[in-house]
Symmetry: C2
Subunit: 132 residues, 2 copies
Amino acid sequence: MSESSTAVRNTRQRSAVSALLGEMEGFHSAQDLHAMLRQRGERVGLTTVYRTLQGLADAGEIDVMRPPGGEHLYRRCSEGHHHHLVCRVCGRTVEVAGPAVESWAERVAAQHGYADVSHTLEIFGTCPTCVR
Amino acid sequence: MSESSTAVRNTRQRSAVSALLGEMEGFHSAQDLHAMLRQRGERVGLTTVYRTLQGLADAGEIDVMRPPGGEHLYRRCSEGHHHHLVCRVCGRTVEVAGPAVESWAERVAAQHGYADVSHTLEIFGTCPTCVR
DNA sequence: GCGTTTTTGACAATCATTATCGTTACCACG
DNA sequence: CGTGGTAACGATAATGATTGTCAAAAACGC
């Protein structure tokens, strides 16, 4: 144990999860994704799906949303930082970018001496269709 | 049933929770608050604490934060809409107002035709003390 | 191939929150 | 000042997503 080799290994399961996310539109829960993988015949454990999603989220490759309902939703997202505008009725989601918000958050945090800043922002509303 | 009697009754328990929140600084979980009430000798059920907090939150009288840890935290907040800058190490919290963000969110939502807009925003960072 | 180390995965455990439902107590009205 | 209807309470059980466990399997460097 001389070196702390943080060797991340390439496994079939990891590829499967990653590939699935690449094909999916919209947000899905870990359990959803797990069910889809099984339907495809991929043999992946639920535990592994959770672990993989966490890893991808930490690496910034996927997006996590935590709706008030309580279930975590994952989605492969476009590169860079952005936020979501979610319909509270049908769940339709729009990706929105807010450079102004980013810099505002940075500035506010800096004013209070906070470092290493991140933030989460979700906008909820009723979409045109559901508004009728 | 001529009237929609949304009669909210005044109960000892509701007052107790409300009063406790009035004296507390910072965020506390429902279970925390419940434990404190018991220490004071107030006899309030955990279920009731949850219900009361939900009610107060719906009424906008208290503030709910959902940290990644998963536990909901409640706090009596100043009137009006605001957000929080939270130290991810020690939990120290600063209330921040962002009128620009409010209007930005409204505008973005309107552009996509979304109505009845609300949003959640939390800023995380490491506070000056913990940065050291 | 071989050994080492990560990763997997079935299952159990955790734990905050919610549902249940009989009981209690608030409050308007007479 | 009673009383009836109804909202609120509260002990307990249920829920359900997520995390821990640990033996077995798979990757990768050599």
